[in-house]
């Protein structure tokens, strides 16, 4: 269905459509940056295309690429024809793309987000400010050259001893607050669901070799022995939880 969109665009724009593709049923056209706004307007206003639903606008950073650093990606859909199309263009660092806010007003926040995260400017945008981060933030965090662990705190961190990350998250300090399968318990078949489930049923490996894990393991072994003594068939126990 979307192939019709590509055909229509190609018929109208000719070789200004640089590339087309339909990988996995996702139809895409690549256009030059100078045609960006015109293609969008065409998508929205063409009698047949009627792309009235702005889905998303985002960007991809290719720092290793020589010609243009960013891909700008527009996803749009027609609620009339049910067709979808993806439009992609290339933007060099420092270059500005034309705004699409006059085509779809929904592009307003999406363009602000792209500016916030990638630092791509949009010419003619009515209010190009950061949308998720704060004005004090330096840089654009979804650029691949932004350090992955660099935080820019608004409030200076306290520097006292007690804020060293306490480790409440091993199985010893953590919380084996088991979820209890109350229904099973009422029926007389106590089936703990977590965290001993793996140990109990041999489905998963133990979370760790800690003391708590060993204790649980020992208790399960003891329970199995008890069951064997009572002559309880092992198969029936296993089958009941399936």
């Amino acid at each position: 269905m979307s192939q019709a969109v590509i055909d229509r665009l190609c018929a109208h724009f000719g070789d200004r459509i640089l590339e087309t593709s339909d990988a996995f049923g996702d139809h895409e056209v690549v256009v030059a940056l100078r045609d960006w706004v015109e293609v969008a307007e065409r998508l929205k206003n063409d009698d047949e295309l009627q792309m009235d639903h702005f889905i998303d606008l985002t960007a991809i950073d290719h720092p290793e690429r020589q010609d243009a650093r960013f891909d700008l990606v527009l996803m749009t859909r027609s609620s009339v024809a049910g067709a979808r199309i993806r439009v992609r263009t290339r933007v060099e660092e420092g270059e500005a793309a034309g705004t699409l806010t006059h085509v779809w007003s929904g592009a307003n926040w999406a363009e602000r987000e792209v500016w916030d995260m990638f630092g791509i400017e949009f010419e003619g945008h009515p209010d190009l400010r950061r949308i998720l981060l704060y004005e004090e933030f330096v840089g654009h965090p979804l650029r691949k050259d932004y350090p992955i662990d660099k935080a820019q705190p608004l409030v200076p961190y306290r520097e006292v001893e007690d804020i060293q990350k306490l480790p409440p998250f091993g199985i010893e300090e953590g919380q084996p607050f088991a979820r209890i399968d109350w229904e099973a318990r009422l029926r007389g078949r106590d089936r703990q669901v977590s965290p001993a489930i793996g140990l109990q049923h041999g489905q998963r490996r133990a979370l760790s070799d800690s003391e708590a894990a060993r204790r649980i393991q020992a208790r399960i072994a003891a329970r199995k022995e008890e069951g064997a003594e009572a002559g309880e068939p092992e198969g029936a126990k296993e089958g009941s939880g399936a």
């Binding site: 965090p141 306290r158 007690d162 990350k165 010893e172 953590g174 919380q175 001993a196």
Partner: protein, 181 residues
Amino acid sequence: MGELKVIGGGGEVAVTTRFSDLLQWARKWSLFQYPFVTACCGMEFMATAAPRYDIARFGAEAPRFSPRQSDVLWVVGTISQRQGPAVRRIWEQMADPKWVIAFGTCASCGGFYDNYTTIPGVDKVIPVDVYIPGCPPRPEAVLDALMLLQDKIQANDRKPIVVPPRLVPERAPGRAKESGT
């Protein structure tokens, strides 16, 4: 409540204790909360407050949506860098004595968010009294935290503490025979 002494007998009995002990005792049973709820941990917080777990048993059920009237700041959920100034300011507005509970892994240490967005533990911004591990913690853990906090208040102890694990009674060693299967 610290040291208690019972004087007299029959119809007339007096109990003596130290004034500070009495004060702490009163404080620990009337903790007005300020819920700073930002994320999914809020669901467990609601469960704790609801009748099944019933936080009211500990005198800690009354939410005060003005920090000036509250005693305990519950930081429930992920705190982003952008929220840092807000949570700091709310803490500053609370009147002494005040306590802070970091509810869940994100509030305690940032959880799996280790990047530009999130404060790696609300203790980077404000001092925390009790940390509750869990993603999210079960209401039992929350009640354990509340009882820990009460103990700390009674003992006048401001050392941060992590809620320790608790064995489900049925699983505790020695109880296996009784509970059966």
